[in-house]
Symmetry: C2
Subunit: 406 residues, 2 copies
């Protein structure tokens, strides 16, 4: 009997009625063995975190994990109960019972190995196996949680341990789109996208899947099928695709609005300056994204400009000002009204002129580009936040994404 | 270092503020090792049960246990976190981690053995050990709950496993009283009461402690100290007391209002009638308390009258009517306005005339006695519910309980 591995997110299990709908969905396919990974119901995890915060700003990590892991225990038991109430056979397993062993690092443990013997036993008995996502157990039987994107990663790891090649991620969107359909009305659902494209889009703020789960699926060669928990339609498959077969240059376009730039003006033109600045920022865990250095004043000084997320802006500005002073720079200038626009596609590797098309479309729309970065499968531009959505629409049109995927 | 075992009930851990108060209380006694058993916060268990009921009238027992045990996981993690936030050392252990092994009988499992090695290890490391009450684990690592009165029983069993002679039960009352202080204003807190007296009072509806926990403490010779979670006063100790030293005839008086009587009138006077009736009721799990059989009509027929709890009345009446028909009895008469008044005291064994004092006091107050039952340490009368509180006051006065314990 074939085994299917699913994950249902917090919104999908948010009410008893939704849990019953999932039970119906699973019972409608009696010819498979089912392993169902669930998140906590709706805002349960947030409520538990709020309880913690009443006790401490930095709650003990082990106890934090013992506390918030209960959210998944509740939803797993309820789904199992719902299946049984409808006449099916089911059993819920927590991280310890499911044999999901992690490192000791509480709050962001890493799954080290899975012992699927209990899951196999329960499948053999004809049970739907409902497994708590997001949690595991250490070798000393302490409960851990595995951080953001945890339940998706749990599902991928279980698929790998069970030798299942596809993992269905049921969520509150019906797939991955060429761009945000709330902004671009004719954005199209993509039937297929590669792991690397998905990783780039996720890093740009497409919150369908956590990058960690995508990386894990890529590593194990598991196809991720992202689809709606409330519809029967096929969603988007994230999988390896041979570039030779790939027709489109650009798969998706992402707009990330919460960006900011910092510019250090009048930096003496000498070696090691950038290293000093970015080491200091790195030491404070500030992530830098785009960087440009421009020359001015007859070659004697430079301007270094870089982007940070808006969340990190104030901290990054303070660090940068300190470093600028020691370097003898003139001043630091900040701008928080920045958006980052990115086109992503494995096809651009083999198709020249993609960057030129992008810049031409933006110029035609009268949009000024502040910074540019590129990778093999991505080109990003920092632009004014105010023109972000207009720019997104211009690029979606320029690359004909509505037609290409219609 | 001496080890203390405590249990804090649901009201005592009902809010973050109350949990912090418990943390302070424990940290104020650094010279002891502490094992703290906790119930679920406030109405958490009821809320989880309500979720179950939305899915099924008879939820799967294994999943029911997996679900409702999460309430204790939450409160244990929060208390541990609160102690750590205040600078102490603590660790929460669930039933599996604490080594509390039970039978497989979900929803009402029995604790079979405790492996306290992890608790010992954590105490040696200087940790306050916070253990989830009410739950355990089977040999196959399935989560169980141990039924009503569970957390008190968990605490007693842990005290026994750790070789600790006293178990402090912190609750929302400050001890056991001679009678209900809401009815009798000068009811007195008892410093000491025997296990058997407590069992009789608990059976009469004194909800301070579940009879099961008292029986378990009696079996293991653990002194139970029932006291307020919000006051520093000593409460009531439940322990073995040598009758020789016992000065008082009556320790406490209880009034149980939710009683009903059923009478089968005109039962043929022949052997086996009572057995037939009470077997039928027993088969349906209806508990019978008092029974009298009276003779009438020149010895040819009898009337059998018995009490049941009001909850069981309708079911018991239906069963009784069916049996009465097959027995050829005249009719079944029911009355739901019945209360049961009981005096309890190990002293009555050695002090004659206690029953006489009781009946005289009730007669003097003009109260009619419907049925009487007695045991070694208890005399109970069924009376009209309307005169229940007056009767309770009359007996509290007659046995001078306010003065005896003042």
């Amino acid at each position: 009997m074939g085994v299917r591995v699913y994950k249902f997110g917090g919104t999908s299990v948010g009410t008893v009625q939704k849990i019953q709908a999932i039970a119906d969905r699973i019972l409608a396919e009696p010819d498979y063995g089912h392993v169902v990974v669930v998140s906590a119901m709706g805002h349960t995890t947030d409520q538990l975190v709020a309880l913690c915060r009443e006790l401490s700003d930095s709650p003990d990590p082990r106890e934090y994990d013992a506390l918030i892991s209960t959210g998944e225990n509740v939803s797993a038991a309820l789904l199992s109960m719902a299946i049984i109430a409808k006449g099916g056979n089911a059993i819920s397993l927590n991280g310890a019972q499911a044999g999901i062993y992690t490192t000791n690092g509480h709050k962001r443990a890493t799954i080290q190995r899975v012992n699927p013997s209990r899951i196999h036993d329960e499948l053999t008995k004809g049970n739907v196996v409902v497994v708590t996502g997001f949690q595991g157990i250490t070798d000393t039987q302490d409960i851990t949680t595995i951080g953001r994107g945890g339940s998706d990663t749990s599902a991928v790891v279980l698929a790998a341990a069970l030798g299942v090649s596809e993992c269905h991620i049921y969520t509150d969107v019906d797939g991955v789109y060429t761009t945000d359909p709330r902004i671009v009305k004719n954005a199209q659902k993509l039937p297929v996208i590669t792991y690397d494209e998905m990783l780039e889009l996720a890093a740009m703020g497409a919150q369908v899947l956590h990058p960690r789960a995508v990386e894990c699926a890529k590593e194990h060669g598991i196809v991720l099928h992202v689809r709606s928990a409330f519809l029967l339609d096929e969603g988007t498959r994230i999988q390896e695709v041979h570039t030779m077969e790939w027709q489109r240059a650009v798969t998706g376009i992402a707009l990330k609005k919460d960006e900011a730039t910092l510019s250090v003006v009048g930096v003496p033109n000498q070696p090691g300056i950038a290293a000093t600045l970015f080491s200091a920022l790195g030491d404070h865990n500030v992530n830098i994204d785009m960087i440009i250095q421009s020359n001015e004043q007859q070659n004697t000084t430079n301007t270094i400009t870089f982007t940070v997320s808006e969340d990190d802006f104030l901290e990054a500005k303070a660090i940068t000002e300190t470093v600028a002073k020691t370097l003898g720079a003139d001043r630091v200038v900040g701008d928080t009204s920045i958006a980052k626009l990115s086109i992503v596609g494995v096809g651009m590797i083999s198709k020249p002129g993609v960057a030129a098309t992008m810049f031409r479309a933006l110029a035609h729309a009268g949009i000024n580009i502040r910074l540019i970065t590129t990778s093999d499968i991505k080109i990003s531009c920092a632009i004014d936040m105010a023109v972000g959505e207009a720019a997104l629409k211009a690029l979606h049109e320029a690359f004909d994404l509505a037609a290409a995927n219609a």
